[in-house]
Symmetry: C2
Subunit: 406 residues, 2 copies
Amino acid sequence: MSLDLDRYLVISSDGHAGLPMEDYREYVDPRFRDAFDAALPIQRAMTESAAKSFLIADINEEWRKGIEDDLAGAWDSDARNRVVDADGVTAEVLFPDGVTEMNAPPFGAGFSLGTQGTTKELQWAGCDAHNRWLSEFVSQAPERRIGLACIPVLWDIDLAVEGIRRAHEDGLRGVVFPPMWGEFAPYHHSRYNPVWEVCQDLDMPIHFHSGPSPIQDYFGPMPPKEGQEINQGAVGIYICEVAIWLARPVTFMLWGGVFENHPRLKVALVEGTGIWVPEYLQLLEQRYSDSHYSMKLGDYRSHLSMSPADYFKRNVRIGASCMPRREADMRNEIGVGTIMWGTDYPHPEGSWPHTKDQLKETFHDLPEQDIAAMLGENAVSFYNLDVEKLAPIVARIGPEKATFQQ
Amino acid sequence: MSLDLDRYLVISSDGHAGLPMEDYREYVDPRFRDAFDAALPIQRAMTESAAKSFLIADINEEWRKGIEDDLAGAWDSDARNRVVDADGVTAEVLFPDGVTEMNAPPFGAGFSLGTQGTTKELQWAGCDAHNRWLSEFVSQAPERRIGLACIPVLWDIDLAVEGIRRAHEDGLRGVVFPPMWGEFAPYHHSRYNPVWEVCQDLDMPIHFHSGPSPIQDYFGPMPPKEGQEINQGAVGIYICEVAIWLARPVTFMLWGGVFENHPRLKVALVEGTGIWVPEYLQLLEQRYSDSHYSMKLGDYRSHLSMSPADYFKRNVRIGASCMPRREADMRNEIGVGTIMWGTDYPHPEGSWPHTKDQLKETFHDLPEQDIAAMLGENAVSFYNLDVEKLAPIVARIGPEKATFQQ
């Protein structure tokens, strides 16, 4: 069976799935269950406090009223299928942190994978618990669910390599790494070579998801002095520079020669917008080719046989969550083959439950082959998907191509 | 006397001046002379070691051969005038760190103003020494020299305000602040309000100069393990993200409401290229006006009566050192009124001694009024210069307009 020629194959490069916090208990290694019981109320309190200072709980709660059944798709297989069917989405890439703050895995697991306030043992225990559950969730609809394993890669390279192999055996099809390395070595360090090796060998794409950034900079040193407001505009700064922190690992990998040495390694940068990509490519190209500017800085290029901009085009993809029309209009500068559209379900900033309308708003009147690439075909290549298995779903729920022409 | 209509007024927004290290001794407060004597050999050794790991000493030394007399323009008034005359430059903005590593002021003064390895007292002593010397240097050709005081603003706000007032009295016409704040409060913090106030009142533009960045990230944790090369591509990463670190203070100031509350405050971002500006403005605009994306993050806008992109256009200028043609072609997106061209003399990556040729390469065949704005008029407004005093110099050494038309 081949694809329905009248409908688009839509693959979301950015979905989230996770259990309600307390339900992770049975997936946690018994050795860490006491720690889990002790940590649960603390995690809940910290989550609520973070929500108060950074997220507007009211909006989240307001938004969730009356759609609780659909949000259960974060962990309930039938609900998930019903919701993505209605959205016209055939398959999804699954990150952790389902309904944002309500579904974080324990012990500092999740897509941020920050190393503050946790330990190697605990963070791995949290990741293992999530990855175990996710494997089950994926197995309930394996053709539609591209599950990503949380891998806290910074602590220990041997553990990371082992964890990636295990995730692959368990049916997960990619990994999530932390975009910020804190006190650990950045991603151009040769200690990560075995990790790049195993990801390339097993064809497990690496994902960095937008979110982490140095929020202590935005909120400043605490406590503020008497009468001084210190964090005015903090959130504006955050949303302005969060994409910079997302792209940083790739800057280090590109110049570090990671894609020179691992030409089939794949990396996705997810929910960080695409508007920075054209200027970033231009900068990489200039910095690689300009000699006068940097002659006094010595040789930083001879270990690279291609321009870093060309590695980017070959090895890196953008998870374009809820991409607006203005970015679709920049598709040739970003790279039509680089963009993988996504919904961000079940997050409130995502396109769900209005995905079909938003798709038309973003893609109307563009060339059919460009739409098809950005909505699904690029993801098919990136994740090496079997289109035959997706075809019946597309025929049933895929958005009709004709509706994209005004 | 008005400007020669056949010649351009050229003002370099990026010049460097400073004494040979040892010659700062007599400008250092006597209380710190013993410390100066003790620190000098250490500073020399550290400078040489930094030059080995980061700068290619050979190229610098090679480049300097035979032009020693002209490089003395870093501190010698007559040599300076001779050199800039020959380059067609009428006036210059003067940063510290003359011939890069050979002329750094003592005790961690300089344009980086990093706070590591120094103290409040020492860094201020170093800045005061440089500022004292610079006042003398400026007084030898006051109409041509826009001297900038080094102000280590992070440590102590009262000291900073006092230092800015003193610099103004001594004939300096702007200040240099550190682009990285380390463990101190970032620039949206209300503790800096008195600083913004005095800079606005005295019309002392604030300058951030490209250079500082988290180099420990590039070179990684030391020492590396056996057989592991850790810093491959480090310099490529550095030159790719150095402009990000330069722009960061402005991101914090924009969202923090600094320009809302100080509408006449002026900031220049120098030698950080201009190619990032169009996308940065677009991002500021989107983040200010998009509501769906950030609704869950609460109100971060109501303290701003304008879009941050509009503050940028009004209050911020780009010191466009050795701007290439490709950026001149982007002038409308960057802002013709935003660009202030510069030579970076006497640094080897600068346009000197080929400034006249480079000017033609960058600006040939552009509208005369655009060239005039970017080469000089924008700086006249920014620094509130007296064109009458500059006119005789322009008539004598300014590049002829006709030579910019092919």
